[in-house]
Amino acid sequence: MSADATRSVFSDVERVPGARKPDPILVADGVHRAFGGMVAVDVDHLEVQRGKITALIGPNGAGKTTLFNLLTGFDKPDKGEWSFNGRSLAGLPAGKVAKAGMVRTFQLTKALSRMTVIENMRLGAPRQPGENLFTALVPPLWRPREAEITEQAESLLRRFKLDAKRDDFAGSLSGGQRKLLEMARALMNGPEMIMLDEPMAGVNPALTQSLLGHIQALRDDGMTVLFVEHDMHMVRHISDWVVVMAEGRIVAEGPPDDVMRDQAVIDAYLGAHHDTDLGDDALLSDEVAEQLEAEAAEEDAERAEEATRREDEEGRA
């Protein structure tokens, strides 16, 4: 979908937290999770548009990963409801959520190190009768499906350029390759929505570009992508919609550019910045305030430049 078409899908969507989307694949209501006295997640309403890349950003401790864990069944909320394709997933365990078509990857990659790459991939496939204890004892019952799975795995590995590593132990791959493997493995399930938890973390910059390309390709194939990231440049580069969280709540939503300009977002980030210096009176001095203003101004200027450049491009297109 071109940038134009994307913008038109979102043109009628309000730029407010909890905005309704034209065709949401995931709708969450009143999700609340507290640890002891500390509220980790307190989301009133969230909708994720089908077939688009949505970024979930926010400072550390904002609750992004906790929200991920809740939505995918890896954690239990204190209260909350959410549905995927109209089907309620609240309270379902992680395995069932994945089966329903919503898969996730992890911040710290969970490539199964002591298994080979191809075995990792085969594990991701659903509906293998050999995974039943009794059927497993009769190879002719599951060999055909195994062949199918292997073919699917190999084509995905080719797509992600991991085919050469097919028979190596996953533990011998580099960090970035393991991220790709985890993504590829999640795709074996044939999901409708993939949730990536910090896909760029620990990946060397050379691989970042190709990773971004893969994510965009997924979206172009019709998959919905929701990812958590800290890297603003990456977020700006590929996301169609951005949701900002801070202290467990959603503070802003919108296209990447709008969100970057939102005062609430700036406060959330700079606010976190200030929090860590609370004890130090010296930092309340004028110099520091000026410096921070200068930083903010710089970023504004950058964004303005970027916006102008894009307009120029479109003007030319």
Binding site: T65, G73, D75, G91
Partner: protein
């Protein structure tokens, strides 16, 4: 094992089912028809040799319900004398066997005429029968202690032993629930709990500071008791001196372990599971080393006849009072140390979060070394006092109470010393008071059921903290 993290949805119904089934199992043991001592009549043949005997009281009547243990050639078996005072045990290999009479199963007032001949060694021949004789002499010393002993000779695994209450007909069935009995069991529970706490505090702190579940901690307890035995009985030192020396031996062993085994392995980065399995191997090696040197029988740290006092219907031996006082003092000292001294607070910090403690400048390795020394020393003290309290010790005494220690520590909260204390008192009370309602040789089973239930309901224990997943 740092955080008691539970995945997924907890099936409340499954929990209820498990609890019901376990209670049913215990109740079924309680409602079972009275235990008639069924003597298996042994008949020698091409595969079997018999070791047997007949026991009569000093007056010449058959002594029933006396327990005999036979061990050897990798085999362990027991028998109980029947209505005729006869017993027999079948073994399948030629060779020497150790036959031990469980003196606590003797009828009230009976003792062995030749106690030095217990245990005795006999040679069995396949196809023949061998006799082992235990003549009984005249009645003498009053019954020791106020509670049951934790150890048992001759079996290859630990065993809680039999109720010593004089006058009890069927010794394992619970009697009527009367206030004096309740008070007696309650007192025993508190005392046992305090003694257990001495052993458990070290276990909990070792877990907290190093993440190690030490399955050999039971052997630290045995070490203390056996050391006291050596000093008091074999070297004829006064009891007090023997006790102190035993504690020193224990503390030194803690130092040696950390310096020689645990620190090097920590440096290697060995994971907690591997370390745990090493403690299992160490536990086996130590236990059987003790058996190697001290044999499979029961030993007494002090052979003085215990005198008791009666406090409002509750009978307590003087020795037990003293033990309780010492235990309370020691625990009080530990509490003071942990709360009021800098090192103590540092210890609590390390036990709570070693990484954070290290980051704040605490020398974690020194604290760990201290924890091992003090923990092992306390366990040794616990061993001495428990040995005195039950008036018996043996090679596997610690092994018997190891699971109780784990139950106590888990119940109270892994990693906290106060948790160990609270948990120990509860476990002590549960195991002593449960004998009011379930057969007394099942009372440790009751404590273990508590352990399992705690893990289901509140894995972090009473004083522990549930931790966040992501």
């Amino acid at each position: 094992m740092r955080s008691a993290v539970v995945h997924g949805v907890r099936p409340a119904r499954a929990r209820a089912a498990l609890v019901t089934l376990m209670l049913a199992l215990l109740l079924c043991a309680w409602w079972a028809p009275p235990a008639t001592a069924a003597a298996a009549e042994c008949v020698p043949d091409s595969e079997t040799a018999c070791i047997s005997g007949r026991i009569r009281t000093a007056a010449g009547d058959p002594a029933t319900g006396v327990r005999i243990v036979v061990e050897g050639q990798g085999f362990a078996g027991e028998a109980t004398t029947d209505a005729d005072g006869r017993w027999s045990v079948a073994v399948s290999e030629d060779g020497e066997y150790t036959v031990t009479l469980d003196t606590e199963s003797l009828p009230p007032g009976e003792t062995l005429r030749n106690p030095q001949d217990n245990p005795r060694t006999v040679t069995a021949d396949v196809g023949a029968s061998t006799a082992a004789l235990f003549p009984l002499g005249s009645a003498s010393s009053p019954s020791p202690g106020t509670s049951e002993s934790p150890s048992d000779p001759g079996t290859t695994s630990p065993d809680p032993g039999v109720d010593v209450e004089p006058g009890a007909e069927d010794s394992s069935r619970p009697g009527a629930i009367t206030f004096p009995r309740v008070a007696q069991q309650f007192t025993s529970g508190i005392i046992f709990g305090l003694l257990l706490a001495l052993a458990s505090v070290g276990l909990s702190l070792i877990y907290g500071t190093t993440g190690l579940s030490s399955f050999s901690h039971g052997e630290q307890v045995t070490l203390g008791a056996l050391a006291a035995y050596v000093f008091a009985q074999l070297m004829d030192l006064p009891l007090l001196v023997a006790g102190i020396l035993a504690v020193v031996v224990g503390a030194l062993s803690g130092y040696a372990q950390d310096a020689g085994i645990w620190k090097p392995l920590r440096k290697r980065g060995m994971g907690p599971v591997q370390l745990m399995i090493i403690t299992i191997g160490l536990s086996m090696a130590l236990q059987y080393t003790f058996q190697f040197f001290f044999g499979g029988g029961r030993l007494r740290i002090s052979i003085a006849t215990p005198t008791s006092i009666n406090v409002g219907g509750v009978i307590i031996a003087h020795q037990s009072l003293l033990s309780t006082a010492i235990a309370a003092l020691a625990l009080g000292g530990v509490a003071f140390f942990l709360q009021r001294t800098w090192t103590g607070r540092a210890t609590r910090a390390v036990a709570d979060n070693p990484a954070l403690a290290a980051a704040s400048g605490i020398n974690v390795e020194r604290i760990i070394r201290l924890v091992w020394i003090v923990g092992a020393g306390l366990a040794a003290l616990g061993g001495v006092l428990i040995g005195l309290y039950f008036n018996v010790t043996s090679w596997n005494m610690g092994g018997t109470i190891l699971l109780l220690m784990f139950a106590a520590v888990t119940l109270g909260g892994l990693g906290t010393a106060f948790g160990a204390l609270v948990g120990s008192i509860v476990i002590g009370l549960v195991s002593e008071m449960s004998s009011l309602v379930i057969p007394s040789d099942l009372r440790y089973a009751g404590a273990l059921v508590i352990l399992i239930l705690v893990l289901l309901v509140r894995p972090q224990g009473i004083l522990g903290r549930a931790e966040r997943i992501g």
